[in-house]
Symmetry: D3
């Protein structure tokens, strides 16, 4: 919601710049929310595996933890999908897709991976999900003319992530 209205205003006030390039500061889009959500999916998969492999804590505790991990995995997979859709559907312009013709397919693939990580606790799918969203984040920052770097996330599972180099 936010994004479109900011964009509109910006287009009204910076019309000449908007026409020329795509470098208008269009609004507060940030792929970090999707990236954090995807990391969380992998984290939940690790917790699920640890619970299965760990010492038995009793039936109730097992169910309490398992139900919660699955629900959190579900919720964050959906959140990541939604956030990617918002940036793609609202911020990305035809001139971006001309320059990055793979973008539609990348988003489509992210949606499919997002389904897969909900249907299973397969860590490999989780890692692919994070990486596809990192790729998307890289393209996003490039469209804004902001350089990126790679660094480990400051929390488990500490995967290497794409960040803007501010």
């Amino acid at each position: 919601m936010l994004y479109k209205l900011i964009e509109t205003l910006d287009q009204k006030f910076h019309f000449e710049r908007a026409q020329a390039h795509c470098d208008i500061p269009c609004g507060i889009y940030d792929p970090s929310t999707a990236q954090i959500a995807a990391l969380t999916v992998v984290r939940m998969m690790d917790l699920i595996a640890a619970l299965e492999g760990g010492a038995d804590k009793g039936k109730t505790e097992y169910h309490n933890s398992m139900s919660r991990y699955i629900a959190v995995k579900e919720e964050h997979a959906e959140k990541a999908k939604r956030e990617v859709r918002v940036i793609w559907g609202d911020y990305i312009k035809p001139e971006h897709t001309e320059k990055h013709p793979e973008l539609h397919d990348l988003v489509f693939k992210i949606m499919k991976l997002g389904s897969k990580v909900r249907q299973s606790a397969d860590r490999e799918a989780g890692v692919e999900f994070v990486e596809a969203i990192n790729k998307f984040a890289g393209i996003f920052w490039e469209t804004k003319g902001i350089a990126i770097k790679r660094a480990k996330a400051p929390y488990a599972p500490a995967m290497e992530m794409v960040y803007p180099n501010l």
Copy 2:
């Protein structure tokens, strides 16, 4: 959420069929929700226009109605976008996009129109939004091998809509 899990199960139990064609009964996807939401956007635009053009009912009543119409328009535009994303991202398979190579662009266009109908009360954009989603619905039912028909919606704004011919 629902969609993916149904699909998974179906793939497990009907594996041979799924391999062969795309006619598996994949789950309870139905574009009608997006279509009703888009119609509601146009309806709100009509109510906004009627309020602006109508006799003055007093400041409080004007604000109460206007705030509510805008909020409903906002909410249903977002709902339509979300529902289209779910069907596209979860149900649509690569074999569908091969047969309908315009599908990614159509969905992308629906997202853009969904932004436009939130940023304004421009009825023409609303009508375009409904029509783009009708087109999407037509493709959807075709992938399932179900014929479509066109009929007026049984409520205002009574636009002609795409329905499955059950």
Copy 3:
């Protein structure tokens, strides 16, 4: 939210007609949302039964699927109840209940069945739930003077549903 405001406007602009009959086009009420949600409840029950009866896929996969089916069942049972309440509480007028004196009890029964299908995975209760909502849909379309037909839903569990004959 939507429904009431449309109704209000319509009452203002079509006052004479509203007084005379109940045939005003009152707004975008559509029982199909409740019907699809109820079908989804039955679909989840079938998936739960298939999971219980199927080959063992391992503890994690079992829990992941089971938790998700139950959550989807829960959510859609509640959604169906809410949608029926909205149509009943907002669209239905005293003149409708005079003509259909069984309506209050039917809605009350739908609420009870909606509770039952959450508390268990009993398919018979699920089928009763769908049928009660179909009956409600039939009365709804009758109040609008629109004929109905019966046809199989175009997705599993493919139960026979009530549709408006558009």
Copy 4:
């Protein structure tokens, strides 16, 4: 959600008592949530009236406050309707409606009043809404064999409310 499952359990463990009377401890149903929400609707109407009648605070401040009051009014009217539906649809049993045959109509009336207080800022409708829900609360506590009292709410608009006499 909560209510039904508590009820189920109770019915299993206290079956003989449940059959005999309606004095089973059925679960954590409490009409106070609906009552507080309805009071809030009236409070918002008072704030809207004060804003309209007050000295002009400038266009921005006026809009900021007005939008927020209307949104809060909307939200709490819906909340009150939902809470009443839950108690009626989940807790109330056929034996209660036999003893209180007016209950279906009272709930139906509450739904209608809940629509009215959203469509306008008419304080009289707001007061009627609170009173109808108080009446509902009175019946509810009676079905549980708990005496009621009337006392002023400890916050504006300080209307007289029905409370259980604990």
Copy 5:
């Protein structure tokens, strides 16, 4: 949301009173929502224990009930935390914390207990959670100059609760 705007208005219209004491009628804050939610957490723990200890009802029924109890426990623990945060963050003023210097720590402790009751089904933690929120409710009513009483909640688990003496 509600609370702050009421407060603002009140401050505008009753400025002289507000300056003098803390007895302004600040708005519709009521700790009962948090108290009911915390009670619900304990109730769910009791139902979980009963399910574990009860006769075997079959795998599906066990999972259906267990998943739902855990989800309800989760939801109400979060609800209680949120409600306490709202009253503390919005209603409580520096003059209250001067008079009750333990308030920040009490709220902090409630947050911790709210985490604990989600991570486990430990009834003792649940009881502590209810009691900490009762203590918070007692301070709240004292700041408003309203006497309190203790009475058993009129529903299971029927713990002794703090109520305003209206």
Copy 6:
């Protein structure tokens, strides 16, 4: 929800370390969500001011934009408050508050500022809100032993923000 369960697991598996220091990687807490939300509040204030000061675009367009800016401001102020509460209530431990005794008051102040930016469109309050949350973010990263830097946000209003130096 996420946070607490990660923490629990970590405590179980790294018990000896957890006892000794507070440097365990406790989970996926990240103040960036609260920071982005607070920036959005200021952005909305700027858009509101631009709308008021701009050429008249007609009554409908004015209302459509104003309603949406206020709703977005509202939503993001609440989001920032919630996120800060989660990190404070779930991640922050007594050993952190011993080292940062100002933490409770800082969080309390953030809540108050979050109320203020909803009740008005006062940009100064918005800036204070962002700065208080930046201060909170700085303390958070310090508790994790991660150095911070200051850099301009890569989107309007481009305020200087606190980031972890990854």
